[in-house]
Symmetry: C2
Subunit: 640 residues, 2 copies
């Protein structure tokens, strides 16, 4: 295979495949996404394809754990439209938990209990504000460039919400809705403070807004008046600290290890309302934010607010930032509708994948800082490589050994490439062979991540790739197929496909980290619950029509064997689980009253409802707890 | 190991472990369920334990499919409190699909679209009647004693609902709420008609009510006035055909292969309201229903109705059925709080597991029919074996080679035993060694099933066991642990544990069958949807404040690029997916309007909402469809 073919004529000018025409791309993409590869794609793609790896390469290959064997990595996975976070064990790929966030969950009573409704947010009438979600990206909190096991965050695109997960109890404890934002897409925590060296851990989470809207949102079809905001959320309080008004839109987000820079790729610098407008420009941008300067501007009162929101909004548009030495933002140009911006674990680069361009663009962060400092004239000189990889590059992961792994959506491939070699090639060394390996994946890969890839401790063992289509890889189950999460061994020179795992649509992003980085707690602390019912307080109290039922559970009994209400009562039922053994969870279901929730060991939860149906209602434990679990009941008698 | 120990002194009188005292059992069960086995359990249980199997035995052992390899079996699994049905591939254990039934699902828009709301049921104001569920049991339709791939059914215990799944599209198409029933637990389809030999397939589904209530449900705390009903649902119309008033309660359900008998085990013949009352009697019952006689009684008008329900209820109590030759029901006594009644694939026996008794009871169906025919005096003479197996027997599966596999909840064991040998032992042959093998499982197993076990084609290859506690088998994820579904090779003499699979609580029951028994369809037929939008009909029509938005989707565009509404409009949005390629599904999300749903290829779905928030709302495709998926949007402009 010639070096030219291997690198696909990437940096030597505009190649045949580098900038595809709008119409061709649109139709070609449609076909390739949904059927076997069309001839046009196959002929282009087969040139540089390495032979598929056939044998297990490195030490990471033993994914078939024996019964009882534990995984060595955790994975935190976006749950997609189920609005939750999935917790996986890797390398087995086993799903250990789903953590409800944005969408009610009938198993644990998320959206049923008063405690969870408070986190989720309610309307004035007490009903849930939203019951749908669309989670895309999840990332965890950092300390000294590695995960610290405190928090993870996940976004909801539909309603522009960000949820925080506590990684001790693996629960969602706070949700914030971003003001004046639609299509909240990318999300990334910072890794340290840009100014204070003592703050060597995450204190901010950055959020990108994909859809431009009127600010504030008033009805107009004049798209030139629409704008997007980039938001910063406080990692502890979860309040929105500040926002930045920008040109174009936000897609994915990345942050630098020194805390100084955040960036978002922009696929719609055109601010187009229709897809052909959005893809009309040959280059879009990777937009950098100078965090310290933005916070100084906020502190100096150089902001405005929109509508009812009190969040300070600074101006990051081109027009407002003519001088690099005071600019809050920097727009680095990258080719056509980029998708995915990822920080390399050597702390040096952000890499933008081209999507509609077959390239990845490598941006050197020290040069961006040079530009902000007035030491470099043209911001695009921060681009140290822009190399061709294949059709439809979307996301990039890293192995900590200088290699990047980029998904090619249209080629249904994973390409392993060496960043230093790409930089040398871009710099003129046409002998620099930057493509190291290619692996066909099944099919149309989107997100990719590798073990510890988003940290300075990237260990290059396992890589997971989220394929959007599984086609023929699993038994058919009707019109909607599972997607295919594939696990790849990247410990050797050649990538080796290890396993296919089906998953409901659509998981999007995920992170994978070593199991010793979190310290899960197994039993709640009763004192953490202000409403906790002590055994002597079990009973029913009444103030007019307001009734409080206090109850405890201890296998196989509830403390109240029956309780009586009157039709029309407003009832708050508080249940404390006195059992102290891990996983000795009880459920509480009230037939016909739409109540079902669980209390974990030493947990307290409450529900409020109107006793509007007279009769006898057998409330029962819904979570297996004891040989007499079926017999664990209490009678709710609602008198007419 | 002596034969006596091997069979544990089972049938030779009341052994030490046969009937445990109430208090001891209660405390012992509690401990054993939640910690390592207590001394009392361990000493009793270790006697008869076979050495754990260490090597793979038979041909069924290769469960680690290579990437791209297909499973050979489907599994239909209860989803537990997520109110859905899980579809698995076996032997890999991969979850291929979740089919929403009783609980809204934000991925597909179940409970959001008008079509799914109609299936789920709504209140007068149009909101969903219920949003929680508690699915326990799932079974599929039969023809000639094997699955025919038409339907599966699943129950909701909380709100006494039964859902039907179409096995061509893998969707829920009908839900029925049973009248005058609480704690609807067991469910089983019949296997042929009891009278008409031409009806060699399922036409009825039987449903057991666990909790006795006043009939109709009026408030009284006098438990002696509470009664349970056994219900028959029509498999095609899903209407309730008839109900039977009974003494005691219903738990699990089984049906005979000849269509003549259905049965439910009764753990609370005492009609107790508290657990110590429920376990006061030494023997409870397996209650048989003579289907032909019940239907003749209904036809003859020998029924009453309760409250608003029009469903005919015949009287199946002891008092109303003194003569076997006309009796509708037969109460066969079985020991103390039985749990699980299962039909053997040789079509001869129902087997009741003892739960609080360490026994299983084998009931010969031809003898039950003899009793109904006046040929056998005492109904308990239908008991052909009652043998000791271990502590806490719950459910039984079969291999088609004469062996039964019973879960022992307290012993955390699976016991393989030979039914014929058990009958010989019970008949006096003390040399009959009925226990064949024991396998420790992890931990506290509930339901068990084997490949094709519930059919005449039981093939004895794989067995799955649903363990209620996983304890140390997976990485910790906070207080609520996954449960543990274990896969066992039963193709050889010794059982071999193959794999642990974590699962969210609580799956309860499942069936496993050969993949060629279903014929899934991959693309919908557009004509099946009366609202289908043809491309020329795309647009907005208005009648006063009622607005209809008709739209089509075809990657990467919606037919309407924008549509305008007025604040206060009642909007019905109809979306037809014109794409014809399998799995080319589009989603449709409206930010802030709590709308998200999908349309599969050639499917039409609709939503109705009030346009109560003015502004610009970017509706977007939520299901990856194309390289320009992110750009696939339409603007909803709501004018003030």
């Amino acid at each position: 295979m010639s070096k030219q073919n291997e690198n696909r004529n990437a940096a030597g000018g505009i190649g045949r495949r580098q900038f595809l025409g709008t119409a061709a791309m649109a139709s070609l993409a449609g076909i390739a996404a949904c059927s076997d590869k069309g001839a046009a794609v196959a002929s282009a793609s087969s040139e540089g394809k390495a032979a598929p790896a056939t044998a297990h390469g490195g030490s990471a290959a033993n994914i078939h754990l024996k019964p009882g064997e534990l995984d060595t990595y955790y994975g935190l996975w976006s749950g997609g439209h189920t609005g939750d976070m999935r917790v996986l064990g890797l390398p087995s790929g086993r799903e250990l938990l789903r953590i409800p966030c944005f969408v009610p969950d009938a198993l644990v009573g998320w959206g049923i209990t008063n405690e969870s409704k408070k986190v989720m947010g309610t309307k004035p009438d007490g009903s849930l504000r939203y019951t749908v979600g669309d989670t895309h990206h999840t990332h965890a909190s950092y300390k000294d460039g590695n995960y610290d096991g405190r928090y993870a965050w996940i976004n909801d695109k539909i309603n522009s919400r960000i949820a925080r997960i506590r990684l001790d109890y693996f629960i969602c404890d706070k949700i914030t809705e971003l003001p004046n934002v639609q299509g909240f897409h990318g999300i990334f925590p910072d890794k340290r403070d840009p100014v204070d060296p003592a703050i060597n851990y995450t204190t901010r989470v950055f959020c990108g807004a994909e859809f431009a809207i009127p600010l504030p949102n008033t009805p107009t079809d004049d798209g030139t008046k629409y704008r997007s905001l980039f938001s910063c959320v406080d990692a502890e309080t979860m309040a929105v600290r500040w926002q930045v008004l920008i040109d174009g839109n936000c897609d994915l987000v990345a942050t630098s290890y020194d805390g100084k820079l955040a960036a978002t790729n922009q696929y719609n610098t055109e601010n187009g309302a229709h897809f052909e407008e959005m893809m009309s420009a040959e280059r879009d941008a990777c937009l950098f934010f100078n965090i310290a300067r933005i916070e100084a501007a906020v502190k100096a009162g150089k902001f405005k607010t929109y509508g009812d929101s009190k969040v300070p909004v600074v101006d990051g548009t081109h027009a407002a930032n003519p001088d690099p030495k005071t600019a809050l933002t920097a727009y680095v140009s990258v080719p056509k509708n980029p998708h995915g911006v990822n920080a390399s674990p050597d702390q040096k680069y952000f890499i933008c994948a081209g999507k509609l361009s077959p390239t990845c663009t490598v941006i050197e962060l020290s040069k961006v800082l040079d530009w902000f400092d007035g030491k470099m004239e043209k911001i695009d000189d921060a681009i140290v490589a822009e190399v061709e990889l294949g059709l439809g590059p979307l996301h990039t992961a890293f192995d900590g050994r200088g290699n990047a792994y980029t998904t090619l959506f249209l080629d249904s491939q994973l390409v392993k490439w060496n960043v230093d070699a790409a930089i040398r090639f871009h710099g003129g060394d046409k002998n620099a062979k930057y493509v190291v390996d290619r692996l066909d994946v099944q099919y149309q890969p989107g997100h990719v991540n590798a073990s510890q890839s988003e940290t300075i401790a990237a260990d290059g063992k396992y890589l997971a790739v989220g394929c959007k289509f599984s086609k023929d890889r699993f038994l058919p189950v009707g019109p909607l197929h599972a997607e295919n999460e594939q696990l790849v061994d990247i410990s050797g020179d050649k990538m080796v496909l290890l396993a296919d795992h089906p998953v409901r649509g659509e998981p999007h992003d995920f992170v994978i980290f070593k199991r010793d980085l979190v310290k899960p707690k197994q039993v709640y602390a009763m004192d953490d619950f202000p409403l906790a019912v002590s055994p002597d307080k079990s009973g029913v109290t009444r103030e007019g029509k307001k009734v409080t039922v206090r109850m405890t559970s201890q296998a196989p009994v509830f403390s109240l064997r029956e309780f009586k209400l009157k039709k029309g009562d407003e009832v708050t039922l508080i249940l404390t689980n006195l059992d102290k053994v891990e996983d000795l969870t009880h459920g509480f279901a009230i037939p016909k009253y739409n109540v079902n929730f669980i209390v974990n060991p030493q947990e307290t939860a409450s529900v409020t409802f109107i006793a509007d149906k007279p009769g006898v209602f057998w409330c029962y434990c819904t979570h297996f707890c004891h040989a007499l679990h079926l017999e664990m009941r209490t009678r709710m008698i609602v008198e007419a």
